[in-house]
Chain length 340, copies 2
């Protein structure tokens, strides 16, 4: 099943069921007005939503209308929880290698996770707004899940059962604000502005064999300024799967339905740590910071700059047949001071 | 004006206007069903809620019923944002002094703030649940504000205008999980379980002269196991006021209505850094960690333990006439594994 939230001028958007081919959709106000409503009442709502989904895919839904992913907000335009792991340890190893530091052994058994801000996400086609290019604006292409209610101390198996939906994320990061902020000791805050999520969120079952061991085993396709930048497989080199990440988040507290748990920047090992851009035959990257770390390892300092006003970022994922699963995150970096 | 959310079996509770003396209340489904609804539509809802408030205080509200603060959830049972500052630098100075470290100069000009989890707060009379006493369960008595929408880069003046409501918090902390978690570099996560807020949230204007320069200038009253533990003045030694804290939170992103911004543990300097318990004539503490730091400074190691199952914490604030302003947070520490 595929779900989306259409922009309708409200804070939470309007829930629609979307056909598998992303060509049609149907509002479902009698089942759930918003995505959060559906998640709050999943056990009763999901079977009804699945009936609509089946009808849409047979082209026999009575209330079907054309689906336009550019009219979508993030599936949850605002959420009660956004916690982002750092499950691709290759990314962490690179960061450390660039500054000649070791990765602590515990990082391979105890997930890194930061608490993100969830009150005001932006839509998948909305601008990445910043007040200053000097903040060091970077993308982070990731996969995320939305959970149901999870009890404190849930096992990995219980956490896996609570995964309701899967989607893509651009976890925008302000690299030049990170060093000072992390040095203060309390983690990210100003350095993590509003994230954007893919137009469509899908149930794990919809992903078929691509959802295995609570990982999404498909390449994550990233473009910067319409040029291929990354295509790492999100199912490879993921040290902690989504069940483990959700269980980690619930270790000392209950999670409420609608909690979003992210994978962290997708990053593949690619044999050698050096020279793995798509142009050089590699799978490329999901953030500019990684390119800069490779450059630092190779030549002592980074050459590639961060995003500037006017730059574009596109994040998407195709199924085996080459069809877009989640629709595309496609954002342009813009100056918040010059917004309409 | 005073507002609360009564438990009614729903996830968000039922908004009521509460009389100044906390003796009566009135549901307002025709104005706003929930606290978040009121915050989402504050400009239209607030004037109507204030009319009900005036009637309640005159004992002439048609729908008034007795108010029982033990039936309350936290004012926002779940919120889209909970960010907690560390505005009382005395607390930070103590932490550093206990380990013979200096406080960085930037801490006096750049607020410390961590992103908290906001998806599942507990009610003011609900248990502080934990799975293990060895986690090092501690209270943190604080003040917090709830904001309206705030634009990115808002000035302190703009941030001040966005402060809608004020309340008290118990920001429960798991002290023995903190060192390992902060060492990982991404800030608090498992070490900050669900917070509880006071039964009632009040508008700044309701606080009269006690709300000055965006600080709440009254003693915060803390009891542990029914014994006085702290009574520091929340308006003293607050290095950053709430306008500055809200502006800091909005530095690189918009804040949505219903964002909760906390002060951090209230802590007064008390002349000497040593021997300032209430029993010794001081104003006491708002968390056990501070007692332990005093003990460490004085005798090399802490003597006071953290909270155990069965211990109680009470946090309240009185007006000049000795009346409770927000109702009381009153919680018992309990084993989550033995919950009903």
């Amino acid at each position: 099943m595929k779900l989306a939230s259409l922009k309708d001028g409200s804070r939470d958007g309007r829930l629609v069921v979307v056909s598998r081919d992303l060509k049609s959709c149907q509002p479902v106000p009698n089942i759930a007005a918003t995505m959060q409503d559906a998640l709050d009442n999943w056990d009763t709502a999901a079977p009804q939503l699945k009936q609509i989904y089946a009808l849409l895919n047979q082209d026999s839904a009575s209330g079907a209308k054309p689906f336009d992913e550019s009219m979508c907000h993030s599936p949850l335009p605002r959420a009660y929880q956004w916690a982002d792991g750092s499950a691709y340890i290759n990314h962490v190893e690179l960061v450390r290698k660039a500054r000649n530091a070791e990765v602590p052994a515990s990082f391979y058994t105890d997930p890194l996770m930061y608490q993100g801000g969830s009150d005001s996400f932006v839509g998948p086609r909305d601008a990445i707004f910043a007040l200053d290019e000097a903040w060091g604006i970077d993308l982070e292409a990731e996969v995320a899940v939305i959970t149901g209610d999870v009890k404190m101390g849930a096992s990995d198996e219980e956490a896996a059962k609570a995964i309701r939906l899967v989607m893509l994320v651009n976890d925008v990061s302000l690299r030049n604000l990170i060093p000072n902020e992390l040095a203060k000791g309390f983690g990210f805050f100003n350095s993590k502005p509003a994230s954007a999520f893919s137009p469509v969120a899908v149930t794990p079952e919809e992903l078929g064999k691509s959802w295995e061991d609570n990982k999404l085993r498909l390449p994550l396709l990233v473009q910067i300024n319409r040029q291929p930048f990354g295509k790492p497989n999100a199912g490879e080199d993921m040290t902690f799967n989504f069940a483990q990440l959700v269980a980690h988040a619930a270790k000392t507290r209950e999670l409420c339905a609608g909690s979003i748990i992210g994978s962290g920047t997708v990053s593949n090992k690619q044999g050698s740590l050096h020279g793995s851009s798509i142009a050089n035959g590699g799978v490329g990257y999901c953030c500019l910071a990684e390119v800069r770390m490779y450059e630092t390892i190779e030549s002592g300092k980074p050459q590639t700059g961060f995003l500037q006003f006017g730059d574009t970022v596109r994040i998407e994922m195709h199924d085996a047949a080459g069809k877009s699963i989640f629709g595309a995150i496609d954002q342009t970096v813009r100056n918040y001071g010059e917004r309409a």
